[in-house]
Symmetry: C2
Subunit: 206 residues, 2 copies
DNA sequence: TGGTCTTTTGACCAATTGGTTAAAAGACGC
DNA sequence: GCGTCTTTTAACCAATTGGTCAAAAGACCA
């Protein structure tokens, strides 16, 4: 085995998935260097040599997780439609990002860990595809601003603000929980409502 | 030596400071588990046994850094003055936080790493003093909202949004740089201007 | 200059790390 | 039931980890 390309049997696909699932837990919590193969193997319920039968090594598992992540992470931004209504499009983008923070917090933390550590493994991805996509969407935002559809603000920092405010609920989950109280089920509903107000009205009293 | 309480000689104070400085670099970049004493010793330019002459161990160095951090991290929020002008106070708070992200990015990342990993060492600090401080300031924000000084929004999520948007420039620095281009010196100026607009007017076209 | 206290380090240690190997145990078609 | 291929693991391994120790090297003052 050990060939990552085209896993064949059902059992191979399942085991690889099982390992990636366990690895996501561990890498998201401790970062690449802070995670160990023993931890991952134990969480996956298999032996370490068995784990290494399915993946070439620690790097390979991490790389696979990052590749998958990057593939879907930017989907919400890609969907920003220049032909749609400006406010509706931005609102939808914010909500999609917030949903991702809610539904895929481990992926968000995996990404946060990688960036915090200087993006040693996805630096090229950031400078290339990510930057290109952002530039493209910034053009759309600028057009909307020129048409008077939305306020004239720095479009780059607008995107950063959307990333920051939404991902915060995944990455800083422990802090949010500590402040709001143990299990606030309305958390994401309240966050959505707040972000809507913040981005579309600011703190100006009406 | 090895007694953390009351370091006496000048040389002791300097060496401990040197070590903490090096450790901040390393812990901020790799998190607790991803950092090694050899790394820290090398960056400090001393031998590992020498490092362990000044600190009890890896935990002790990390604990000291966190203690220091927590002591100053919440200062900006503490300064939010209930007797001041609502908008001016919030604006000042945002700017102070942004300044901290600019001037102390390593501290911000150290904190981010700790939270990302589930706050195993400062969980009590979050549930205790942090929560209490936030609750206190939320009361002030609610009063301002009742007086019509600022819009009625969820005050907790408002604080989260300020934390998220400002710390983003320290924690996700690599990503910000990759998107904006290598060395955008106006970055923090633009960020300040944008945040002012976002929080005090939103995206409504004027 | 000698004596004491502080500071520094080379040599070492047990535990853990990522990873290998060879052989055992299953799975599966016949 | 048999032969082959896949899957699993016990037993290792070299390197790195956090940490110790005893002795050397400085610092400082009489």
């Amino acid at each position: 085995m050990k060939d990552a390309t085209a896993p064949q049997t059902r059992i191979q696909r399942e085991k690889r998935e099982l390992i990636l699932e366990a690895a996501l837990d561990v890498f998201a919590a401790f970062g690449f260097r802070g995670s160990t193969l023993d931890q991952i193997a134990e969480r996956a319920g298999i032996s370490k040599p068995n784990l290494l039968y399915y993946f070439e090594g620690k790097e390979a598992i991490h790389a696979q997780l990052l590749a998958r992540l990057l593939d879907t992470w930017l989907d919400p931004l890609r969907e920003l439609n220049p032909k749609g209504d400006a406010r509706a499009e931005i609102r939808a983008y914010i909500f999609r990002k917030l949903e991702m923070a809610r539904d895929y917090p481990r992926e968000s933390r995996l990404f946060a860990n990688e960036i915090l550590q200087g993006a040693p493994r996805i630096g090229d991805e950031l400078a290339g595809p990510l930057r290109a996509l952002v530039d493209e969407k910034v053009t759309i935002l600028r057009a909307w601003m020129a048409e008077g559809k939305i306020a004239k603000v720095d479009p780059y920092h607008l995107i950063f603000a959307i990333w920051a405010t939404t991902q915060h609920y995944a990455d800083f989950d422990v802090q949010v929980r500590a402040v709001l109280g143990r299990d606030d089920e309305a958390r994401f509903h309240d966050a959505a409502q707040f972000l809507e107000q913040l981005f579309f009205a600011g703190l100006d009293p009406r």
